[in-house]
Amino acid sequence: MLKLSWWKWLCIVLIFYTLIEGFLGPVPALPILNETIRNLYFHVTMWFAMMILMTVSLVYSIKYLSKPLAHNDTVAEMSAKVGMLFGIIGILTGMIWAKNTWGAYWVNDAKLNGAAAALLVYTAYFILRNAIEDETKRARISSVYAIFAFTLMMVFIMVLPRMTDSLHPGNGGNPGFSTYDLDANMRKVFYPAVLGFTLLGIWIMQLKINIKKLQHFNDEQ
């Protein structure tokens, strides 16, 4: 039990810090948002963790193309799977937040539709993987697609919402994360929260990779 790697302990400490400080820490009193501003620690961090995991997937896909090791492909697959999990949690938590501040579970907002489209792009990645029987072929084709999927995700959730009006902060002229609008007290919880949830994702990813390797080993026996 105590043999855990240091970063797993760090993950546990950061998440408990987020839970406690996230509820107790001082937050700015803003109209409409009221206490829901604390969702910044639990909703926005999901998307940050997802983007970091998808970046891992991109890096390992490129690594696979330059060095075709089965390990690189497995990491690319599993990080995308855990990233997808965070994306789904991000959508669900966002819907609850939207209902209580914007008035509906789903509003016709560029960022929401973009996020949904990005998740569909990654759904296609998993379908593509399942559709190819041959292992090396599957790894090669899905590595190429993963690069494409990452680019589309960035366009859908980082570029397009900034080019039109969006209810999300930081888009279409709304204030966002620039120095003057994210409260200094909130930063102290937000950044550790991003790191904590990302490490949690990496942890689950590592377990999934080990399970897949064990299955592979079992199949060969």
Binding site: I15, F16, L24, P26, P28, A29, L207, K213
Partner: protein, 41 residues
Amino acid sequence: MADAFRQDGKIYVVIAVVCVLFAVLFGYLIYLDNKINKLKK
């Protein structure tokens, strides 16, 4: 708003519940971690 939220004091109950929830989840994650590592050997 933010002040009234803490004044009634009972927010601590929610924090306690959430911490228990995550403690159990982490306990389970650590259990799985050890189990998979043992299988790997």
